[in-house]
Symmetry: C2
Subunit: 240 residues, 2 copies
C-alpha cells in the first residue's frame, strides 16, 4: 500500500478510506499485513482523484461513478446517465437533486416558461431523451431565472448554446466510438471514456468558454475600459 501511495501521490490513510468506502477494490492478500496492488488499483486511484480534484465532484458522487464502471451489462446510455447525474448534482437545486423532474407530459399550465422553451428546443432539434435527463431541469431553471431577473434578452442565446451543445456531444460520442473501434467494442474501455469525458468535459468546456469570452470581450469593447485605476490592458499584459 505504501508503494501504491508513492506511485499515485495519494496518502495511505486516504487510500484506506477508499478501500473502506468501496471506491477502491481490495488488493490480493499475500500475508495478514500485506496485499498486492496492481495496475488496476493505480488506474482506479487516479480516476478517483481526477473526478474529485479536476471534475469537482463530492466524494459520494465519485463513488457512484466508479461503481457504474463495475456493473456489467449496464447499457452505455445508462452509464452516460450516471456520469451525467454525478457531475450535475452540485449545479442543481434540491428539489431536482432529490428526484423530482420536469414532467414533459404534465398539463401545460403547470409548465414554466423555461420548461416550455426547452421542450420546444428539443422538438426543433430532434433531441429525444428520457424525462429524467437532468439537463432538462437545469436548462429550464436558467431560462426561468432569466425571465425573473428581467434578462429576457438572454433567452436569445439559447440557439447558439444548443448549437454548441450539439457540437460538443458529437465530439463526446465520437471519442466513445473511437475507443470502441480501438478495443474491438470493449464496453469497459468505452465506459471509461463516457465517464471521464462527461465529468471532466464540463470543466474543459467551462474553461474554454472563459477564454473565448475574454478574447471576444476585448475584440468587441476595445475602447470601453477606462484606463484610470486599471493598469492591465491586453497590450500591456498579453498572454497566449
Amino acid at each position: 500500500m505504501s508503494e501504491l501511495s508513492e506511485t499515485t501521490g495519494v496518502a495511505v490513510p486516504t487510500l484506506k478510506y477508499y478501500l473502506r468506502e468501496g471506491l477502491l477494490h481490495a488488493g490480493e492478500r499475500t500475508s495478514p499485513n500485506q496485499a498486492r496492488y496492481d495496475e488496476s488499483h493505480i488506474d482506479r486511484v487516479r480516476l478517483i482523484r481526477a473526478l474529485i480534484d479536476v471534475g469537482g465532484l463530492p466524494i459520494a458522487r465519485a463513488a457512484e461513478v466508479v461503481s457504474a464502471i463495475e456493473t456489467p451489462g449496464m447499457p452505455l446510455s445508462s452509464r452516460f446517465g450516471i456520469a451525467q447525474r454525478a457531475v450535475t448534482e452540485r449545479a442543481l437545486p434540491d428539489e431536482v437533486r432529490d428526484g423530482a423532474t420536469v414532467d414533459p407530459y404534465g398539463p401545460l399550465p403547470t409548465r414554466t416558461e423555461g420548461e416550455t422553451l426547452v421542450a420546444e428546443l428539443c422538438a426543433a432539434r430532434g433531441w429525444s431523451v428520457h424525462a429524467n435527463n437532468p439537463g432538462l431541469a437545469m436548462a429550464a431553471r436558467v431560462l426561468d431565472a432569466y425571465a425573473t431577473l428581467g434578462q429576457r434578452r438572454l433567452m436569445a442565446v439559447v440557439d447558439a448554446y444548443a448549437d454548441a451543445a450539439d457540437r460538443v456531444a458529437s465530439a463526446d460520442l465520437a471519442a466513445v466510438d473511437a475507443a470502441g473501434a480501438e478495443t474491438r467494442g470493449d464496453l469497459t474501455a468505452m465506459t471509461d471514456v463516457v465517464i471521464v469525458g462527461t465529468v471532466l468535459g464540463d470543466t474543459l468546456l467551462a474553461g474554454l468558454r472563459r477564454i473565448a469570452q475574454e478574447a471576444e470581450s476585448f475584440r468587441r469593447f476595445p475602447l470601453l475600459p477606462p484606463a484610470a485605476g486599471h493598469a492591465a490592458t491586453p497590450e500591456q499584459d498579453p498572454t497566449c
Copy 2:
C-alpha cells in the same frame, strides 16, 4: 421588510442576513422600526437567489458578484473577470483558487502538456487573454488529467469544444451589445447581462450538453443497450 419577503419568497431572517453582509443595500428608513424597500431591492434579492439557487454559487461568491455591479467605472472586461472567477471557484483546485496561475511566460520545461496544448489552442484561434484568466488553468488541468488517466484520445475533442466555446462567447457578447443598444450604452444594464449570463450560462450550457449527449447516444448506439433489466428505451419513454 415583510412585504419584500412576500414579494421575493425569501424569508425575513435571510433578508436581514443579506443586509448585514452587504449583499443587499439598506432601505430608506421611515421610522425606527420601518424601512421602505423599492424595485431595486426586489431586483437585488432575485439576483442573489438566482446566483445561489440556479448558478450554484456559494454565498460569499454571490456577494463578490453583486459588489461588482456597484463599482462605478469598472471596465466591462474586469466585470467579466469577476463573474468568471465567481462561477469558477467551485470547479478549481485549491492552488488555482488561491491565486497561483498558469504562467505563459514560464520556462517551457515547467509547462505541463495541458498548458502547452491550451497555449497552442489560443495561438491558433487568435484568443488574446490575460494570464490570470481562470479558464487557462481549468482547461489545462483537464487535458493533463486525460493524459494521466490514459484517455489521451479525449484530447481529440478539444477543437470541437473550442468551436463551441467561440459560438457561446459570441452569443454572450451579442447579448451584452443588445443590452447596450437598448439602453443607449448604460453600463449598469450591460453589466447585469455580463454577470447573469456568465454565471447562469454555464448551467444552461451544461444542461443542454446533457440533453444533446443523451440524444446523440441513442442515435449512435441504438442497439447496444441490452433490454433485460433495463426497461426504459427511447421508444417506451419518449420525452421532448
